[in-house]
Amino acid sequence: MSTGVPPKSGPGRGVPAPAGPHEAGAHDCSTRRPGATGAAPPTSRLDDSVRSRAACAEALLGDPAEPGNPTGYQALLAADRSAVPPAEAEAALDGFGINAEFVPRELGGRFDSAEGLLRVLRPVFRRDTALGLGHGLTTFTAASAVWLSGSTEQRTSLAGRLLSGSKATVATYETAQANDYVRGRISVVPGPGDTWTATGLKPVVINLRRADALVLFCHTPARHGGSSHRALLLDPHRLPATRYRAIVRPAPERAGLRAYVGAGAWLDDCPVPCDALLGPPGSGMATALRTAHISRALTAALVVAALDTALRAAVHAYCAERSGAGRKAQNDPGSAARVLVGALVDLLLYDSFAVTTTRALQLRPAEAGVHAAAVTSLMPTVFIDTMNGLATVLGARLHADGGAVGAYRKFLRDVPLMTVGHVGTAAARSTLIPQLKRLAHASWCAWQEAPAGLFRPGAALPPFPYGELALAGGTDSLSGTIAVAAAAPHGRGLVERNLHGLAEGMTAELRDLRTRVLALPSPAPGSAASPAWCGLADRYAWVLAAAAVLGVWRHQTTGFLADPAWATLALHRIARRLGIRTTDPPPECASRIHQEILARFTERRGYDLYATPLAG
């Protein structure tokens, strides 16, 4: 399936070589290994740092807008039209050794932090969400369940298979108010001897036909409590053909992720050996939820890459119009500039929260689940609002089928499916809401700031704490950052004073939230008060986003992120979304952001927190 065709253009394709004290000895990223699938990753050729690996992935994929690039928009969109995976892009990623990024270092791979993985995968997601999910994140999510709960044999065996090029996939539990993408339940019951048998239909399992490992979350006959769930790790090729089948269905013409969602799993009294059980009895739901913390944090962080491309497409249109090519267009350039400023601020706002959450997996494993659920719940709003805002700048260009605008349209279609819409946010809120009363009691009146490391993108992280990643910790140190920021001196200039006032507003909002949460009857599924709880959970998520912004700004000493302009506008936008009355931010804030938008566009740097050099 992967042809491993070498790229047409030369090394780097315009991407500057990564620099830094630990990254001397630049590697050659230009050669894709022919027939890479199944081959060992070329780890020896890679400088091992995250920055270097991310730059290598970017260089390998090349300038996405270049017409002849086999891993560019033209090829990716053509594959999508045919509902097939983009073979050359997959081969390029195999040649890079993408699977090694999913395997912990102690098991022979290169995974040592979720933040590192997000940086390596962002180049993929900037070009094609479906490719990133189907040829990346899905395998990692399935594997994470095994790294978290698998036996030594299961971990070693899966690591070996992934390092030799296998894919893994996962069939999650059907959760409340399921849609077509998460519907379906599999049940598992004790069979003869020490075996088990599994029965059920899961209509959509990403990449199922190409997966050599399937993590299956199942229900048991026990109706309540921890023992009602089990997780299995199966090799679909070793299941009896009469008892297991990958049900193939043609993707509807307009369906998103269409190259990867064409099959579902059908099992009928299918025998399962006892060594396929993942984790001890009763740990199925805990494994699912702890895995979800990781996948939610990464999904949120990777959606930022799609927004990055969408913003670049709009800036391209804006610059073309300003240069005179489109002077007849009726778009008001002042309005377009405001939209672009808002889009970059929202992107940075969301990235602050997503990266902070991703770092929390390692620095605050007991509370990362709260942040992961909260950042997930904001994604549909941030994504759709930003994309729709950028549409006003694109105007009639929106109808173009190719290039970055084609990618924009594909993101608009694919990302809601990747995050499974309301079902994803409802599951996230189901994790968050039972913890709100405890958080209100224990954390929301604390004056202790979260550790500085949480807010320093790219800074060193401790080993991934698989054993300490809590299902639910009921604590949150992130919100403490707001009170600390509000209590700090008022700042030097007008912008900092404005930001300080906004931080005080967020402190008041958190206090009000605490009062409301403590006053409501305890939440419960089926309760009439559920919408009130969901409303408060949404407000809390925005407050956490504000805390992440304040934390990232406070802990930078140089560069754009240390400038209060972006943080001021970010908190202003959050305040407006919460209905908090504010004064207008100083006009120099927008000027500063506008300048940054044009500088990064001209210098070909990403619009995220890392501002890394891009291939195009």
């Binding site: 539990y173 959760t175 409340a176 108010q177 399921a178 849609n179 077509d180 993408y181 921890g226 307009r254 998103g256 739901m285 805990a286 009726q330 309005s335 549909p380 709003t381 759709i384 609002d385 729709n388 805002g389 549409a391 006003t392 105007g395 009639a396 929106l398 109808h399 279609r413 809601p416 499916l417 499974v420 819409g421 309301h422 079902v423 409802a426 599951a427 809120r429 189901s430 994790t431 809401i433 039972p434 913890q435 299902l471 939440p523 419960a524 599924p525 089926g526 009439a528 008060a529 559920s530 919408p531 009130a532 709880w533 969901c534 409303g535 408060l536 949404d538 936008r573 979304r577 209905g579």
Partner: protein, 283 residues
């Protein structure tokens, strides 16, 4: 398929039809009369509880007609959303996005849109993605005011010129409401240039009994189909009292398929909830 607008009154008898449309088609549009949705007294605790954070503030308080319209439209919006979710209106908070677009905070199983003009209040709901609705008096004069060029694409202008003179204003009002509905669905309203996209209106279907409900297709500015398969549109003429209104709706389907259940009471997953609660209780 988008549903025909349903008339609703505050007595609640019509909500079953709204829920039936949502269940069958994933969308519903309702309308009410301003006079019917105005509360008898503006200072009752019950009204304050239902409006919650939507209690009129700022300039809207000072001008009585604006305040009445504001309160009536929010009451219709909240009661419609509450009926769809089978929830209490007082438990819902309407959130406003940065462009003023309303949503039910924390309840993203439905999307909502609001429009009001003259004596008509209009609310759209969908469980499939995003919705925008718009209403104008059908007799609003647009044609002949040099507005056609700022509203229409070249393709639409050509189609307009082929119509008999007496039909042109109605066509323009129809296009205007469709464009408003589309741009409200994407949360942009007039910020989105109306000449960057167009509509092709099919012939009136014979014998449907639905006045002025034409098939609608999204087009590029040059009139070629825009391939917006995710979009559905509907435009109707409603008669309220002795006034005719042009009413249009636009829905973008997110492509996630049908959600049979959108009730507020069941949106928290009981198994996740139990597992998290159990972990917090812990040993």
């Amino acid at each position: 398929m988008l549903s025909r607008p349903i008339a609703v009154a505050p007595d609640g008898r019509d909500w079953a039809a709204v829920r039936a449309d949502l269940s069958a088609h994933g969308n519903a549009t309702v309308y009410g009369q301003l006079a019917a949705w105005q509360p008898d007294g503006e200072h009752s605790p019950a009204l304050r509880a239902v409006l919650g954070r939507d209690w009129p503030r700022g300039r809207v308080v000072e001008h009585a007609p604006s305040r009445h319209r504001y309160i009536a439209s929010r009451l219709l919006l909240k009661h419609t959303a509450a009926a769809a979710l089978r929830a209490e209106a007082a438990d819902l908070e309407i959130a406003y996005g940065l462009t003023g677009r309303p949503s039910v905070r924390g309840c993203d199983q439905i999307d909502i849109s609001l429009s009001h003009t003259d004596t008509l209040l209009l609310v759209g709901l969908t469980s499939r993605g995003r919705i925008g609705v718009d209403a104008e008096r059908a007799d609003r004069r647009l044609y002949g005011l040099s507005m056609a060029r700022s509203i229409c694409t070249p393709g639409e202008l050509t189609a307009l010129d082929t119509l008999p003179e007496e039909e042109r204003n109605d066509r323009l009002v129809c296009l205007w409401t469709l464009k408003e509905a589309y741009t409200k669905a994407i949360g942009q309203g007039l910020r989105f240039p109306f000449t960057a996209f167009g509509f092709e209106l099919g012939p009136l279907p014979g014998g449907t009994g639905h006045s002025e409900c034409r098939p609608v297709r999204l087009c590029r500015p040059d009139g070629t189909p825009a391939g917006g398969a995710a979009w559905s549109f509907r435009t109707d003429v409603l008669h309220v009292g002795d006034v005719a209104f042009r009413v249009s709706a636009a829905v973008r389907d997110a492509g996630l398929g049908r959600s049979a259940d959108i009730d507020a009471a069941t949106m928290l997953d009981s198994e996740i909830f139990a597992a998290v609660s159990e972990a917090l209780a812990g040993p």
